[in-house]
C-alpha cells in the first residue's frame, strides 16, 4: 500500500499558490507535452484504463464520458471543456483547496482533457464566493497565457486553446452540469433535457465536457505515471487517491488526500482525531449534504464509490459531515432540507413543492409541533423525490439525508413529538 499524495504533495504549507515557475520545478506541465504527442483517442483510452471516476459526486467513469464526444475533422466546433468549480454542496470544501493551493495543476488537467476531446475553448466555472481562488486561478491563467501555454499554438504545437475564468453569481444548481451550461450561457440555471447529452450538444449547442476540479487535477499525474500506477494508489477497485474531509464536532476538522477506500473509522479516529471531548459519534453524511446518513455500524466501510453505495449511501464528494450526540438530528436535517428547498430551481413539481414541504414539517418538529402523521408525510416526500421522479438529481439528493435520518434517528423524531419540543434546545 502506498501513501502517495499526487494532488497535494507539492502544495505549500502556508497555503499560497504555486507560481508557474514553482509548478514547473516540481514537474508541472510535463504531462501536456506528452499528451500533445499522443493521439487524442489514446489519451482517452489511458484515462479509461486508469479507472478514474468523476470526483464531483456521481462517480461517472471519466474516460468513458469523453468517448462520446465526436472526434475528428467532421466534429462540430468549437468544442468545450469546463472545469466545474462551483462547489456548493454543503459540507464540501475540497475543490477550494485545489484551486487556491495549486491552480496550475487544474489548468494542466484541463489542457489534457481539452487535448483528449479536441476542445478549443475551456472555462473554469467558479462560484462567486471563492474570491481568493478566483484571484489565483486568474493569475495562473495569465501566467500560462504569457508563457504560451494557452492561446494560439500552445506549447508551440498546432493546437489552440482559449481558457477563461467565469465567475458565477450563486445557486447550487449551477453545479449540476446542464444547469451549469445554462448559467454559462447567461440563462437561468435550470437543468436541460437529455438527450442530447452535453458530450454531443452542450455549451452553445456544441460538444462539451464538464468535469469536477479534483477529477481534472488527477489527469496530469495519470499521464505522467500511467494507469497502473493510478490504480495502485487505491486500496480498492476504485482507482486513485481521494480528497477526504471532515467537518462537525471532531477534534481536528480538515482535509486529507488519502488512498481511495480509506475507511471512515480511519478518517474519523486518526485523521480527525476523534470526536471533541465529551461528545459521542452518532452518524455521518459521508460525502456532503446530499448523501445518506451512515452510523456506527458503517465505520469500517471503505470509502470508495462502490463500497459506500453498498452501505446504503454514496461517496459523493468524499467530505463528511459528522453528527454528534449533542446535536439534534432533526434540526440538522431541517437545516439540510431548507438548503435544498431554497436552491430548487423551480422547474419540476416534486422538487419545488416537496422539498419546501419537508422543510416546513421539519421546522414544525423543531418547534415541538410535529406528529406521527408528519412522519408519514416525510416518508412520502422522500419517495416523491426519488431518482427518476424528478427532472434532475437535486431533489433525489435532498431526499437521501432525510430518508436515512427517518431510518436511523426515528427515536429522535418521536422524542420531538412526545416532548413537544426539541430535546436539545
Amino acid at each position: 500500500m502506498t501513501s502517495e499524495r499526487p494532488l497535494t504533495k507539492d502544495m505549500k504549507p502556508g497555503g499560497e499558490a504555486l507560481s508557474l515557475r514553482e509548478y514547473e520545478r516540481v514537474g508541472g506541465y510535463h504531462s501536456v507535452h506528452k499528451a500533445l504527442r499522443m493521439d487524442p483517442k489514446n489519451v482517452t483510452d489511458l484515462v479509461t484504463k486508469s479507472g478514474l471516476r468523476g470526483r464531483g459526486g456521481a462517480g461517472f467513469p471519466t474516460g468513458s464520458k469523453w468517448s462520446f464526444v465526436p472526434i475528428g475533422p467532421d466534429a462540430p466546433r468549437p468544442k468545450y471543456l469546463i472545469a466545474n468549480a462551483d462547489e456548493m454542496e454543503p459540507g464540501t470544501f475540497k475543490d477550494r483547496y485545489l484551486l487556491e493551493g495549486n491552480p496550475h495543476q487544474l489548468l494542466e488537467g484541463m489542457m489534457i482533457g481539452a487535448r483528449a476531446i479536441e476542445a478549443e475553448v475551456a472555462y473554469v466555472f467558479l462560484r462567486a464566493e471563492y474570491v481568493l481562488a478566483g484571484k489565483r486561478v486568474a493569475q495562473a491563467i495569465a501566467e500560462a497565457y504569457s508563457a504560451g501555454y494557452l492561446g494560439h499554438r500552445i506549447f508551440g504545437s498546432e493546437l489552440n486553446l482559449e481558457l477563461y475564468l467565469h465567475v458565477s453569481a450563486g445557486r447550487y444548481m449551477c453545479g449540476e452540469e446542464t444547469g451549469l451550461l445554462n448559467a454559462l450561457e447567461g440563462k437561468r440555471a435550470n437543468p436541460r433535457t437529455k438527450p442530447p447529452y452535453p458530450q454531443v450538444s452542450g455549451l452553445f449547442g456544441k460538444p462539451t465536457i464538464v468535469q469536477n476540479v479534483e477529477t481534472l487535477a488527477n489527469l496530469p499525474h495519470i499521464l505522467n505515471n500511467g494507469a497502473d500506477w493510478f490504480k495502485s494508489l487505491s486500496r480498492t477497485a476504485d482507482a486513485g487517491t481521494k480528497l477526504y474531509g471532515a467537518s462537525g464536532k471532531v477534534k481536528r476538522p480538515g482535509l486529507w488526500e488519502l488512498p481511495m477506500g480509506t475507511t471512515m473509522r480511519e478518517l474519523l479516529e486518526e485523521h480527525s482525531g476523534g470526536m471533541q471531548d465529551g461528545l459521542k459519534f452518532r452518524g455521518v453524511l459521508p460525502g456532503g449534504a446530499s448523501t445518506d446518513f451512515l452510523t456506527e455500524q458503517h465505520l469500517d466501510v471503505k470509502m470508495d464509490f462502490t463500497e459506500t453505495q453498498k452501505a446504503g449511501s454514496r461517496l459523493g464528494t468524499g467530505t463528511m459531515i459528522v453528527l454528534d450526540d449533542q446535536t439534534c438530528p432533526v434540526g440538522m436535517v431541517w437545516n439540510l432540507e431548507d438548503f435544498f428547498a431554497q436552491e430548487s430551481c423551480g422547474w419540476c413539481t416534486p422538487c419545488w413543492s416537496g422539498l419546501r414541504w419537508a422543510e416546513r414539517i421539519l421546522g414544525a418538529f423543531e418547534r415541538g409541533e410535529g406528529n406521527e402523521t408528519d412522519l408519514e408525510k416525510l416518508t412520502w416526500i422522500t419517495s416523491f423525490c426519488a431518482p427518476g421522479h424528478t427532472f434532475c438529481a437535486l431533489a433525489p439528493g435532498a431526499a437521501e439525508p432525510l430518508q436515512s435520518a427517518l431510518k436511523y434517528f426515528r427515536e429522535d423524531f418521536l422524542r420531538h413529538i412526545h416532548e413537544k419540543r426539541c430535546p436539545w434546545r
Binding site: 423551480g346 422547474w347 419546501r356 414544525a364 427518476g388 427532472f391
Partner: protein, 902 residues
C-alpha cells in the same frame, strides 16, 4: 406504427410520438400539465408519470414521465399501477400547496384543467398545513387578467409566450416554489397572441379580461360553432352567449387552420355584437329623422320603394355571408348586383383565384405553413393583415433545424432538446415587405422596398429558378444577390412556401409570387402558395361575382338607377366622402342593412337591423377558398334578423311570392348552388338542417346549463319553450344528442372528465391531428389537373420616388384597421391614432419633424395627420394607417405632396 402494451393490453401507437400522446390518442385519461399538444414535452410538471417495465418479466418497473418517452415498439407501461397512481395524486397535492382554492370566485372555475386533473388523479384531502405563498398581480393590458396566486408552475405560459409566439416582454422570475410568471414591470403585453395565455394556462392565472366585465361560467354559456369575422383566414371560434349578450370568444380547434391558438383581434374583437351602436330595430326616415318602425312598417315601405323604383341596385359586402350576398343578388338581379369593393380589389382577388385555380401550387393551410422549410413572404405584413398566419410562419423556421435533431435521433416533440440543439439557427424565412414587420425577428433576411420593387424581386427569384421566366432588367447588385439566395433556399427545400397577398395592393406582386410557384413547379420542385385577403368573405364575394363598386356610383350618377340597397358595408370606409355622398344623396331611395350605426346607415332612408355572425348562420370563404359555415350562437331581439331573411322578405313584399320557398338557410344555399355553380360545393360545408344524431339535434348549451327556468322569471313565471332553429341541426337548448357531432357542428369542447379546452383531445382522430371525420370546411376552388404553363411577363419598371410627391400606401394594424373589432374596448385602446409615416431622410429633406401636423391630398380631398418618422420605410414612400378615422375612404396607393400645416 408500433405495438405498445398498456396495462398488459396491446395497442397501436405512432412510434414517432411519445407515450402521453399515444395514451391520449387511444382515449386513456392520463393527466398532464406542462405538455401541450402544440408545445411538446419538457418534463417539468411530472404529472404524466406511468410505470414502465423493461421486459414482460419485469414485475418491478420504474416510474417514467410518459411525455418524455417515445412510444416505440414493445414499450410496456401501466397507467393503473398503484405507485404511478399515488405519484400522480402527489403531484397535484404538491401543486395545490400554494393554490388558493378560490374556485368559486375564479374565472377558470368549471373549465379548469387543474380542477379536471385534480379529480382525475383522485387527490382529495389536503395534507399540507402551512401558509401559502402569495404574490402581487400585474396589469398586463386590456386582454389578459393576472392572478398569480393560482399558479402551479407548469411553465406553459412562458413556453407559449416566449418560445412559441416569440414574445420577449414576459418571463419567469425568481426560483424554487416562488417562481413568478409575468412582466418585468406592469404593462400591456406586446404579443398579438397574448390572449392565448387564457387557454394555455391550465388554471386561472391568466384569464380573459374582457370576459370579466360580464362574466359567465362555461357551463352557463350557450355556444355555437362559428368562424372569426375579423380577417380572411377563417379561424374557428366558439362564441359564448348568456342573457342575450355575447360574453366571449374562445378558440375552436381546427386541425388545418387555427389549431389551438387565435390572435387577440379574433379573441377580443367581437364586443361590437353588444355595442350600444347596434341597430336593433328598423329605422325609417321621417321628416328628415330616422325613427324606429316595426318590421311590418319597414316591409311595407320596402314594398312601396321596390314597386315604384325604376331600377334597384344592390351593393354587397366582403364581410357578409355568401347567403346574404346571394340573397341581395337575387333581390336586385345579377345585372344590378355590385360587389361592394372597387375594381382594383376585385382584380387582385381574381388574380389570386386564377393562381389557385391554375394548380401551380396548392394553397397552403396554416398547418401546412408550419411544416414549410423555406418561406418567402412577398409584400405582406402578416401579423397585422392576417394575424394568425404569423404564428404559423414563426413555427416554420424551426423546420430547418429539425434536421439536426433527426441526425441525433431526437424526436421533434422533445421540445427543449430540439431548441437547444437548434440554438439560434433558423430555417430560411425571407420577408420582403414595404417596411419592418413583427416577424422580422425570425426572418433570415428582410428587404424593404416599394411594392413595384418587391414585385421585381419576386420576378427575379422566378428567373433565377427557371431561365424561361422573364428576366428583370436594371436590378441592383443587392437585389440580384438576394434573389439568388432566396432562389437557392426555395430550390433546396423539401416544402417551399410563397406567401403573398393583397395588402400592398399590387397585381405585380401577386403575379411575381405566381411566377415563383410556376418556376419551382417547372423545375420539379412542388411548392405551396398562400395569399392573404382583407376580409372574412373577400374570396366568397369574388367567387360570387358582381360588378365593381365604381360602377354602382356611376349607375346612380348617370341616373341609370334610383334605388340602392347596401348590405353590411360602410361605404365611407372604402370610398371618398364625395363619391359616397353622391351615391347616397343621389339615389331616390337608400336601404341599408347592417349591425351598427355608421356613416352609411345614418344617410339611409331605411335601415334594417341585420344579425351579426353571432345571431345568424351563413357561409364564409377564407383565403384558401375554403367554405366554412358559421352558426347562430343566440337568438337576437325580435326585430333583428339575418340579412338574407330581410332580403327574402323584401323580395316577397315586392310581389315575388316564389321566394316564400326560402324558409330556411338550406333553401338559400340550394338556390345559390343552382344559380352560382362556383359556389355549389358550399352546401357541403356543414350538414344541413335536417341532420340529426340518434334522432336529435346538437345542443348548443352544455348539459350543466343552469337557471333556464329562472332566467326570464321576472317576465313570465312559466319557462318559455326554447326557440326553434329552422336553419341548422343545432338546438337552443341543453337537450339533444349526447353524441359527438361532426366537426363543423361542434359548438364547444367538453367531454366527461375534461371540462377545459384540453377536451379537444377527445374530438381529434389523433392528438393535434384532424378532428374526427375531417376538419370543417370544403374547398370551393378546384385546381386544374393540367396547369397552364405561361409566365406573367409584365415586370414593372423600377420604382421612381416622386419629385416632391410620395407614394402613399396603407399600413394595416391588427388593432384598429378592421371595421368591427375597433368597437371592442381593448382593441380601440391598442389602436394607433391617425398618422402619416415617412422615411427619416425624406423627412429631413422635406424639413419635416416628428409629430409635425402634415397634410396630403388624394383625389382632391385633403387629410391631416401627425408625422411619424421611420427609418425602415423606403424613401419615396409614405404610409398611413388603414381604416383608422379620419383617414378612411382613401383609395391607395396613390401619390400626393405632403406639406406641414401652418
Amino acid at each position: 406504427m408500433a405495438i405498445i402494451y398498456i396495462d398488459d393490453k396491446p395497442h397501436q401507437a405512432d412510434a414517432k410520438q411519445n407515450l402521453l400522446h399515444a395514451c391520449l390518442s387511444l382515449g386513456f385519461n392520463l393527466p398532464y400539465f406542462c405538455w401541450h399538444p402544440a408545445l411538446g414535452s419538457v418534463g417539468a410538471c411530472r404529472q404524466c408519470a406511468v410505470k414502465q417495465f423493461r421486459t414482460p418479466d419485469d414485475k418491478h418497473g420504474h416510474l417514467v414521465m410518459a411525455c418524455m418517452i417515445p412510444a416505440v415498439e414493445g414499450t410496456r407501461i401501466s397507467i393503473h399501477d398503484p405507485e404511478a397512481v399515488a405519484f400522480r395524486a402527489g403531484i397535484i397535492e404538491g401543486m395545490m400547496q400554494n393554490h388558493p382554492h378560490d374556485c368559486p370566485v375564479c374565472d377558470e372555475g368549471g373549465e379548469c384543467h387543474l380542477q379536471d386533473m385534480t379529480v382525475m388523479t383522485g387527490h382529495n384531502y389536503r395534507r399540507y398545513d402551512f401558509p401559502k405563498r402569495t404574490f402581487r398581480n400585474q396589469y398586463l393590458g386590456p386582454f389578459v387578467n393576472h392572478e398569480m396566486n393560482r399558479c402551479i408552475q407548469c411553465y406553459r405560459c412562458v413556453r407559449f409566450y416566449r418560445e412559441y409566439a416569440g414574445g420577449n416582454d414576459f418571463n419567469v422570475f425568481g426560483i424554487r416554489n416562488t417562481a413568478y410568471f409575468g412582466r418585468y414591470q406592469d404593462g400591456v403585453l406586446e404579443s398579438e397572441f397574448a390572449g392565448n395565455l387564457d387557454e394555455v394556462c391550465p388554471t386561472g392565472v391568466f384569464t380573459d379580461a374582457t370576459h370579466k366585465h360580464h362574466y359567465t361560467r362555461k357551463w352557463d354559456l350557450q355556444f355555437a360553432p362559428s368562424v372569426c369575422v375579423h380577417c380572411g383566414l377563417g379561424c374557428n371560434i366558439s362564441p359564448g352567449e348568456r342573457y342575450g349578450t355575447l360574453r366571449r370568444i374562445v378558440n375552436r380547434y381546427h386541425g388545418d387552420i387555427n389549431g389551438y391558438f387565435l390572435c387577440d383581434r379574433g379573441r377580443h374583437g367581437s364586443e361590437f355584437v353588444n355595442s350600444d351602436q347596434r341597430i336593433r330595430q328598423a329605422r325609417l326616415r321621417r321628416n328628415g329623422q330616422l325613427q324606429a318602425v316595426s318590421k311590418a312598417e319597414a316591409l311595407e315601405h320596402i314594398r312601396q320603394v321596390l314597386t315604384s323604383s325604376s331600377r334597384v341596385i344592390g351593393i354587397g359586402s366582403p364581410r357578409a355571408s355568401l347567403e346574404a350576398n346571394f340573397a341581395l343578388r337575387a333581390a336586385v338581379g345579377e345585372r344590378n348586383f355590385f360587389a361592394g369593393i372597387f375594381q382594383r380589389e376585385l382584380r387582385l382577388l381574381n388574380r389570386v383565384l386564377d393562381v389557385l385555380r391554375n394548380g401551380l401550387a396548392p394553397a397552403a393551410s396554416l398547418r401546412e405553413m408550419e411544416n414549410s422549410d423555406a418561406v418567402l413572404v412577398l409584400g405582406e405584413d402578416v401579423t397585422n393583415y392576417a394575424p394568425r398566419m404569423a404564428l404559423s410562419l414563426r413555427q416554420s423556421v424551426r423546420q430547418g433545424p429539425m434536421a439536426m435533431a433527426d441526425k441525433l435521433k431526437i424526436p421533434h416533440w422533445l421540445d427543449h432538446s430540439v431548441r437547444e440543439l437548434a440554438q439560434d439557427s433558423k430555417g430560411p424565412l425571407f420577408i420582403a415587405s414595404i417596411a419592418a414587420t413583427r416577424l422580422d425577428d425570425v426572418a433570415s433576411e428582410t428587404y424593404h422596398a416599394a411594392p413595384d420593387e418587391l414585385a421585381r424581386l419576386g420576378f427575379a427569384v422566378a428567373h433565377k429558378l427557371d431561365d424561361n421566366a422573364p428576366a428583370v432588367s436594371g436590378l441592383t447588385l443587392e437585389q440580384t444577390a438576394l434573389a439568388e439566395r432566396i432562389a437557392q433556399a426555395l430550390r433546396s427545400a423539401r416544402q417551399p412556401l410563397i406567401v403573398s397577398g393583397l395588402s400592398c395592393h399590387s397585381t405585380a406582386v401577386i403575379s411575381a409570387a405566381a411566377n415563383i410557384a410556376q418556376a419551382l413547379r417547372r423545375t420539379g420542385q412542388p411548392s405551396r402558395v398562400t395569399f392573404t385577403v382583407p376580409e372574412c368573405n373577400s374570396v366568397g364575394l369574388a367567387l360570387l361575382g358582381g360588378r365593381p363598386l365604381e360602377d354602382a356610383f356611376a349607375a346612380v350618377r348617370n341616373r341609370a338607377a334610383d334605388t340602392v340597397i347596401v348590405l353590411e358595408n360602410d361605404l365611407y370606409r372604402r370610398a371618398s366622402v364625395q363619391d359616397v355622398d353622391a351615391l347616397l344623396l343621389g339615389a331616390k331611395h337608400v336601404i341599408v342593412l347592417d349591425h351598427l350605426t355608421n356613416a352609411t346607415s345614418t344617410k339611409a332612408e331605411l335601415v334594417l337591423p341585420a344579425a351579426t355572425f353571432a345571431e345568424s348562420d351563413g357561409t364564409l370563404v377564407n383565403n384558401e377558398a375554403r367554405a366554412q359555415r358559421f352558426f347562430q350562437t343566440f337568438v337576437p331581439q325580435p326585430d333583428v334578423q339575418e340579412s338574407w331573411r330581410w332580403l327574402r322578405d323584401a323580395i316577397i313584399a315586392s310581389g315575388r311570392q316564389d321566394f316564400a320557398a326560402w324558409e330556411n338557410l338550406d333553401h338559400v344555399i340550394a338556390s345559390m348552388a343552382v344559380e352560382v355553380p362556383a359556389l355549389a360545393a358550399a352546401s357541403k360545408a356543414a350538414p344541413d338542417a335536417t341532420f340529426r344524431m340518434s334522432g336529435a339535434k346538437v345542443p348548443r348549451q352544455p348539459e350543466r346549463y343552469s337557471g333556464r327556468t329562472a332566467m326570464l322569471a321576472n317576465i313570465d313565471l312559466s319557462e318559455p319553450k326554447p326557440p326553434d332553429d329552422p336553419d341548422s341541426p343545432l338546438s337552443f337548448s341543453m337537450e339533444g344528442s349526447p353524441d359527438q357531432p361532426p366537426s363543423p357542428l361542434i359548438p364547444f369542447a367538453w367531454s366527461p372528465g375534461w371540462n377545459s379546452y384540453q377536451a379537444w383531445n377527445k374530438f381529434q382522430e389523433e392528438i393535434a391531428g384532424p378532428l374526427r371525420g375531417g376538419n370543417p370546411g370544403v374547398p370551393l376552388v378546384e385546381a386544374a389537373a393540367q396547369p397552364q404553363q405561361e409566365y406573367v411577363r409584365d415586370v414593372p419598371a423600377p420604382f421612381q420616388p416622386g419629385d416632391g410627391e410620395w407614394l402613399i400606401v396603407p399600413f394595416y394594424h391588427i388593432f384598429g384597421s378592421e371595421e368591427l373589432s375597433i368597437h371592442s374596448h381593448g382593441v380601440k385602446q391598442l389602436s394607433p391614432g391617425a398618422y402619416l409615416a415617412m422615411n427619416d431622410k425624406d423627412a429631413e429633406r422635406a424639413r419635416l419633424r416628428p409629430e409635425d401636423r402634415i397634410e396630403f391630398t388624394i383625389a382632391a380631398i385633403s387629410y391631416q395627420a401627425a408625422l411619424k418618422v421611420r427609418a425602415d420605410l423606403p424613401q419615396g414612400i409614405a404610409a398611413i394607417p388603414a381604416g383608422i378615422e379620419p383617414l378612411q375612404g382613401i383609395q391607395l396607393p396613390d401619390w400626393s405632396r405632403i406639406v406641414r400645416v401652418a
